[in-house]
Amino acid sequence: MTAVGATAPAAALRRPAVDPGQPFVGFTFDYLVIGGGFSLLVLALLQSGTAPSVTVFLKEHLWTFVLLSNSAHFAGSTVRLYTRRGSFRDLPFLTMGLPLVSLAVLALGLVFPGALGQNLLSLYLTWSPYHYSAQAYGIAVLYCYRSGVPWDEAEKRWLRLACFAPFLYSFLTIPGAGMAWLMPAAALADPAAAAMRGFAATAAQIASFAAPLALFFRHQLGGRARLPLISLLAVLANAVWLVMLSYQVAMVLAVITIFHGLQYLAILTIVHVKEQMKRADNRAPAWRHAAGFYARCLGLGYLLFQVWPHAFVLAGFSYAESLLLVIAVINIHHFIVDAFIWRLRRDPSYAAVAAGRSP
């Protein structure tokens, strides 16, 4: 009997029936914040209508929460980009060219609101659910890595499909974006096309929940690398955000963006802190790195969303169009930057975090 053979049965015995995932901070924090569990509790409370005082409290402080979470998360990708070692060398266009391009696009959008501005808004609204789904996929895969059982490409493809079903639903149904933006209104109004679209939306809606659950149970029962429970939670939370709730209702939308931002900030801060702690010249404790990183995100978030739109008012544009276009351009910039800084297999810092089995 080989040593491996001797230890394998014991390892199998120790393996829990359901893999809860390897938390970064602790099970409570990871399940509530990164997995999205807290969002489901709050949204259930809002939807039930049983606690109007909570709803009033949220509405009263909505913009504070948006600043603390969502605005900071948008700034977070930029802060991360410019604080990561070697970013200027490895990603010259992203770090040095894209800001100027974004500013130029914003200016043109303001000058040509009909021809360009509203298309920027539609682009961002189309891209946003894709970004949410990509984040759910990233978090699911991250916890798979941390559980130490690698998924092959085919398995990851199925997981990706399950994560992107909510995006497909959003693409088919969001007014003014997705299909409604890209297809002529006359074509969409055709009864046969409308019926097909309705059927596809229903299928995507069902798949958003059925696909991750089916994948989870298939892997659970089929002796494959198992999907950690927290990965399933993150994917289902995203499905609830994009599919079950009315995405266009301002209050619900704001609450969803708060939780998406919270999820993102948590992961980003963990990555940043782990990187800083590994530096040979590090002298500061982890909390100081986390606080410093968050403070920078918060400051930049305030400047981007609360201050920047007023500059264009000074230039003679209305606050409404300035704010909407600033939001659109910041979102698009964030989506692009995000696509580069979270390249799972290429980012050594990400790999270091994902591989760290100990929190």
Binding site: G49, P52, T55, V56, L58, K59, E60, W63, T64, V66, L67, P92, F93, T95, M96, G97, P99, L100, S102, L103, G109, P113, G114, G117, Q118, L121, S122, P175, G176, A177, A180, W181, A185, Q248, M251, L303, F305, Q306, V307, W308, P309, H310, A311, F312, V313, L314, A315, F317, S318, Y319, A320, E321, L323, L324, L325, I327
Partner: protein, 241 residues
């Protein structure tokens, strides 16, 4: 060996690209910093404070209406409609705002556009109802709100609109019923809390009016709601034994 030499004027492409990137970065940074300084200065000079935390595209329009600056409000609503004509809700809000700002023709044009996007949609009827309300055509407005509510009984703004009409017509019990229904559907509607406070105040219940105005102030602390709260507090204090 001579083939490896470059003329003095021709920099290596990588170096040229790097220089261009650095130039672009410097320029972008300069513009961004200038924008932040300009944004801070704009609010500091015009409002004597730092920019607040709201991210509502209609906030400037509402503030302008509250100040009575209809021209500025109209500019804001037209700007919103120009950049966001695909979002029916915002388009309809811009339409109603334009009517309030005195541009009834502009508002009607936007309502027509929303109608073309979604023919027969109850929310368009609601907006039409509000547009008629702002032009003091109360009976027609009520009819539109009732059509909208028959199609969608959960339309908060239609309930609120019908309540406003009933308040104008001094039909207070009906106004109160509509407002309570609106707030049951959306307890965060500050304007409905304010109107319910008005209904209570006008029917001799100042203490309940204070409660409603108090919630309205938390949700949207505008000068008119603050004034309502103060008046109701005074009335409630006078009535206490």
């Amino acid at each position: 060996m001579g083939r490896d030499l470059l003329p003095m004027s021709a920099a290596p492409p990588a170096l040229r690209a790097e220089t261009l990137y650095r130039l672009a970065f410097g320029l972008g940074l300069l513009i961004a910093v200038a924008c932040f300084v300009a944004g801070l200065a704009q609010v500091a000079v015009s409002e004597r404070r730092l920019p607040g935390l709201a991210m509502d595209p209609l906030i400037a329009a509402r503030d302008a209406l509250a100040r009575g600056d209809k021209a500025a409000a109209g500019r804001e609503y037209r700007g919103l409609a120009a950049v966001n004509s695909r979002d029916m809700d915002l388009l309809l809000q811009a339409a109603e705002g334009l009517v309030r700002a005195g541009d009834a023709a502009g508002g009607a044009e936007l309502i027509g556009r929303a109608w073309a996007m979604n023919p027969g949609h109850p929310r368009v009827q609601t907006s039409l109802g509000w547009a008629l309300y702002w032009t003091k055509r109360y009976d027609e407005a009520a009819a539109r709100f009732e059509i909208a509510l028959r199609a969608d009984p959960r339309d908060v703004r239609a309930h609120a609109g019908l309540a406003e009409v009933r308040l104008e017509q001094q039909r207070y019990p009906e106004a109160e019923a509509s407002l309570l229904r609106a707030l049951e559907l959306d307890p965060t509607n500050g304007s409905a809390h304010n109107s319910l406070g008005v209904a209570y105040a006008l029917t001799g219940r100042p203490q309940r009016a204070v409660e409603e105005f108090g919630i309205a102030v938390r949700l949207s602390p505008t000068p008119d709601i603050l004034a309502n709260l103060e008046r109701a507090r005074g009335e409630a204090a006078r009535r206490q034994p």
